[in-house]
């Protein structure tokens, strides 16, 4: 009898766990990486490619297949939140919202001015926007359930880029936009007001949080041009650590004349990767415990962007040889060996993981 009861209980439990598995992971686009393809500027051909974690397959133009319409122009970033994917179209001034498991469209959020990056914060979504030339950057707060823009915060800074939620605050990197900036804006999401601007390195772009609750900012630096578009100098690149309680800053210089554009962190919360972007070769690895800028890259190659899978630490590296040919994604294991190469859409710049 006991055995039978045990088996019955086990059977019921199994049935219930299978049900759970069905409801959350059964979509067409679950269990894989969603590659964000910018498309060509002014061509309205941004797209999403789906690469399942197992195997070598890829499905391109996932949004078009589900909804029979173009996604928009220049897909810059995306956020998966509460079973939905929020896709930021930089040159279309909008966010497209779809179900992340089957990509059926839900709505379009308009009223944004050159939106760049997006981060989910407790039922809200914070979106950074550059605005037009001469305008201040803005961070808009969007309700993740009603899709309405609750508030738009003018940061009075230039080129708002990466957005991160950490230690109950929203941190926005100001990359300089049409001019120059070296600050990170800190917003209190409870009142949606700016509490501080922290000075970091030149052209801060992306931010990640490590396992100790510190924030790391990649400051790309940039080339300095004269009136005839000749390069006359460089602002150097650096990695900056911010203490989220004291706002104290530690700077680790990277290079005087090289400008890596992207930053990500492995699931262990202590291995940082930076690299990618125009004219920058390789992806470099540093440890948050003892930052030593390496001479050689961990992964070699010229990548337009990269992201690290939070599931297993695989590094997805995007190659964009031009904006008319399809790009490639090279997936490397965390030991640096190449797992697979897959052809994706035009101008892949990053990935989000379902």
């Amino acid at each position: 009898m006991r055995k039978f009861q045990f088996l019955l209980l086990a059977g019921l439990l199994l049935a219930f766990t299978s049900c759970d598995k069905e409801s959350s992971d059964s979509g067409k686009y679950s269990n894989g990486a969603l590659i964000l393809n910018e498309g060509a500027f002014n061509n309205s051909n941004a797209s999403i490619s789906f690469i399942p974690y197992d195997g070598n397959m890829v499905e391109n133009r996932v949004f078009y297949t589900a909804n029979n319409r173009d996604l928009g122009d220049v897909l810059q970033d995306a956020e998966i939140y509460r079973d939905k994917i929020f896709m930021v179209l930089n040159n279309s001034g909008k966010i497209e919202v779809a179900d992340v498991d089957d990509f059926i469209q839900i709505t379009t959020i308009e009223g944004l001015n050159k939106p760049r990056y997006i981060e989910a914060v407790d039922g809200k979504l914070y979106v950074s926007q550059w605005g037009g030339f001469g305008e201040s950057s803005t961070v808009s707060v969007i309700d993740a359930a009603t899709f309405q823009i609750d508030k738009s915060i003018q940061t009075l800074r230039q080129g708002a880029e990466g957005v991160l939620y950490c230690d109950k605050k929203v941190w926005v990197a100001n990359s300089g936009g049409f001019g120059m900036d070296s600050t990170v804006t800190v917003i209190d999401p409870a009142i949606n007001k700016i509490v501080k601007n922290i000075t970091v390195g030149y052209n801060p772009k992306e931010l990640v949080a490590d396992k100790n609750g510190n924030i790391w900012v990649l400051c790309s630096g940039s080339a300095i041009y004269d009136a005839n578009w000749q390069v006359v100098g460089h602002y150097p690149s650096s990695l900056v650590r911010i203490n989220t309680s004291t706002f104290e800053v530690n700077t680790y210089p990277i290079a005087a004349e090289k400008h890596p554009a992207h930053l990500d962190i492995a699931p262990d919360g202590t291995t940082l990767y930076y690299g990618g972007g125009y004219g920058f070769s390789g992806i470099f690895k540093v440890n948050t415990a003892s930052v030593q800028i390496p001479a050689e890259p961990f992964v070699s190659g010229s990548f337009y962007g990269f992201n690290v899978s939070p599931k297993n630490g695989d590094i997805y590296c995007m190659e964009a040889p031009s904006f008319t040919e399809p790009g490639n994604v090279k997936v490397y294991l965390s030991d640096g060996s190449l797992l697979k190469t897959v052809e994706v859409g035009i101008g892949p710049n990053g990935a989000v993981f379902n």
């Binding site: 002014n42 133009r61 319409r69 173009d70 944004l112 049409f178 125009y278 004219g279 040919e325 035009i346």
Partner: protein
């Protein structure tokens, strides 16, 4: 650095504009007329034996008055790409790119030396009395850029007697207004003509936005356009052997760049194009040789402004063309023509290095002969060009036409073509993001075609049918690329791609006259299988925006001054980028007109319905085209 990327990509994808004609006939008396025709004909046209040259029917030309050459040609079988309503419009024939089709006016190729293209939206149909399409390249006679085809634009011939004037006015949907006025004065030894064109449109046509949820009906935004054009021509008979024709043409266009269908914010960028072209043709017919001297000046400026990116660029250029030609008959069936050309091109741009100029010298030799009682004509030509001391590939061509009997003709050509890099390709300033490549070599290729023409005449029914097959190949095709291995992380043009195209063109045309009713009809079909090859990535992938199938047909019925014309085009599915396609579409246009005389002066009234089937379509993905629109026009000749 989005700004820079944006600017660069805009230039890469903007292949646009500029403009060029034939010496006009000066009509006096019959005997003079015969000499005139010989003197006035351009050596290029006379020596294009075997080429498939197809004039656009006058019925169609009149139907498209008030519109642009781009819109006129999109009703045919060439592949036209238009960035929305009135936007940048370029042409692709036989699988070539926009810079592979020459546009010739008064004997000069008006492709813009900075970007190699011509914006057909800025060429008003009203200015041209005759438009012909030459399919297939002719690098020997027309030089660089005439790789897969040529559009011939000819202005209306000057009338020799008395004074004449005309006015044409058109009003249509989206508040589109067009005015075209002419004044001619012809005396026995001299004729002058003045032509004025003005056009304005709000271009806020209704369209179905298939890029938004629910495909709502919306109005095209930020697409307003304005054009002003002025053409002045003079013909002079200096003495019984000497004839001089001079033309000047100024064209201005302002065009707001249409908002992309998928965009949630209206676009604010716009472009202003200024072009001035002047050509002088002097012909002298001696007893054994005919000389001609051509001098031309081509200048222009494109200003592009995007207030949201603080972009305000000016791109002026100047081109001076000088050509002298001598034609000598060598014994009865042969004629030898020798020509030499000196062209100077210079461009100025904030994005150029200093001294972005070049000197081009070209020499051409053509031999034409006829056999079998003139039923077989053949021509062979050779050309070479030196650009700033770099030799372009020597190009040669052979063409023949054979009419064994009156009702059938066979023709064939083989020609090599080339295209020198544009000033943008060579002289773009080196920045952290991009640079020009002064080491580029010209693109070169060859094309061959074979065709048959059959004509028939049955009482009052006349018809003509033609079929041609062609094959062309192009190597060292220029492409701007950012491949770290090849260009060190910068956008740079390289001679990388190869193209191959196979296809056929079929056409049938007929007219029937019964009592006082005339019926005209035509149908054309073009099949183009065009592929690009690239070492590293493409392997025979189809070219973008080249449909495999294009069909065009029209039927016109006229009686007692009334006429109805319906024309229909079918454009097949085509790639809009390396991975996705635009669907096929059908377009129908209907036009009703009435011609009469009031107080002895000719008056024409015309009512048009465009896109009568309300088809939603795009020529370039994301740039909406209008649903059904209407227009009304009135023309008076005094």
């Amino acid at each position: 650095m989005r700004i820079f990327k944006g600017l660069l990509l805009l230039w890469c994808s903007f292949l646009s504009l500029v403009l060029s004609a034939q010496p006009v006939r000066f009509v006096l008396t019959d005997t003079v007329l015969i000499d005139e025709v010989k003197i006035a004909s351009d050596y290029r046209e006379v020596n294009s034996i075997g080429a498939t040259i197809q004039p656009i029917d006058t019925v169609i030309l009149e139907r498209y008055e008030g519109r642009s050459i781009g819109e006129l040609l999109s009703a045919g079988t060439v592949s036209i790409k238009s960035y929305g309503v009135g936007g940048l419009t370029t042409l692709s024939m036989r699988g070539g790119g926009a810079s592979h089709t020459a546009v010739v006016w008064n004997g000069i190729n008006i492709q813009n030396p900075m970007n190699g293209g011509v914006n057909l939206a800025l060429l008003p149909v009203n200015f041209f009395g005759r438009v012909s399409l030459q399919r297939g390249g002719s690098g020997t006679l027309y030089g660089s850029g005439a790789v897969t085809g040529i559009v011939h634009l000819k202005t209306k011939p000057l009338l020799g007697s008395g004074a004449k004037a005309s006015a044409f006015f058109q009003y249509g949907s989206a508040n589109s207004r067009t005015l075209y006025a002419t004044a001619d004065y012809g005396a026995p030894k001299m004729a002058v003509a003045l032509r004025l064109f003005r056009q304005k449109s709000d271009n806020n046509y209704l369209f179905r936005n298939s890029s938004k949820i629910g495909s709502p009906l919306e109005r095209i935004s930020n697409a307003q356009s304005e054009q002003n054009g002025l053409m002045a021509e003079a013909n002079c008979r200096l003495n019984s052997n000497t004839f001089w024709a001079v033309s000047g043409w100024y064209q201005y266009g302002k065009k707001n760049i249409q908002t992309l269908m998928s965009s949630a914010i209206p676009n604010r960028s716009y472009q202003k194009d200024y072009n001035f072209t002047a050509v002088s043709n002097l012909k002298y017919a001696a007893s054994r040789v005919t000389f001609s001297l051509k001098n031309a000046l081509m200048s222009g400026n494109i200003r592009y402004v995007d207030p949201t990116l603080n972009l305000n660029t000016a791109n002026p250029f100047l081109s001076l063309i000088n050509e002298c030609v001598a034609s000598v008959p060598l014994g009865k069936p042969l004629e030898l023509t020798i020509a030499s050309n000196y062209t100077y091109e210079v461009g100025w741009s904030d994005s150029y290095v200093e001294n972005a100029y070049r000197n081009r010298f070209a020499g051409i030799v053509t031999l034409k002969g006829s056999l079998l009682d003139n039923s077989l004509v053949a021509v062979i030509s050779v050309r070479d060009e030196v650009v700033n001391s770099d030799f372009s590939p020597v190009v040669y061509s052979v063409g023949t036409e054979w009419n064994p009997v009156e009702w059938i003709g066979l023709k064939g050509t083989f020609s090599r073509s080339y295209r020198i890099p544009t000033l943008n390709d060579l002289y773009w300033i080196s920045t952290a993001q991009a640079e020009g490549n002064p080491d580029l070599i010209p693109e070169s290729g060859w094309g061959s075609d074979l065709g048959v023409v059959v004509r028939g005449n049955l009482n009052s029914f006349q018809w003509i049918a033609s079929l041609s097959f062609f094959h062309n190949e192009l190597s060292d095709w220029l492409v701007w690329i950012n491949d770290p291995a090849l260009t060190g992380g910068k956008w740079k043009p390289m001679n990388l791609n190869r193209g191959k195209t196979n296809g056929l063109e079929a056409a049938v045309k007929g007219s029937l006259a019964m009592h006082s009713v005339t019926i005209n009809f035509a149908a054309e079909y073009a099949y183009t299988d065009s592929r690009i090859y690239h070492e590293n990535s493409y392997s025979g992938t189809p070219m973008i925006y080249v449909p495999k199938h294009k069909l065009s047909s029209w039927v016109g019925v006229g009686w007692n001054g009334f006429a109805i014309l319906y024309n229909h085009t079918f454009t097949g599915a085509r790639y809009r980028d390396a991975q996705s396609m635009l669907p096929y579409y059908n377009l129908g246009d209907l036009s009703c007109s009435y011609s009469t005389k009031i107080f002895g002066k000719r008056m024409d009234v015309r009512a048009n319905v465009n896109n009568i089937w309300n088809q939603d379509y795009q020529m370039i993905a994301g740039y909406a085209m209008p649903l059904r629109t209407y227009s009304l026009s009135l023309g008076i000749r005094i």
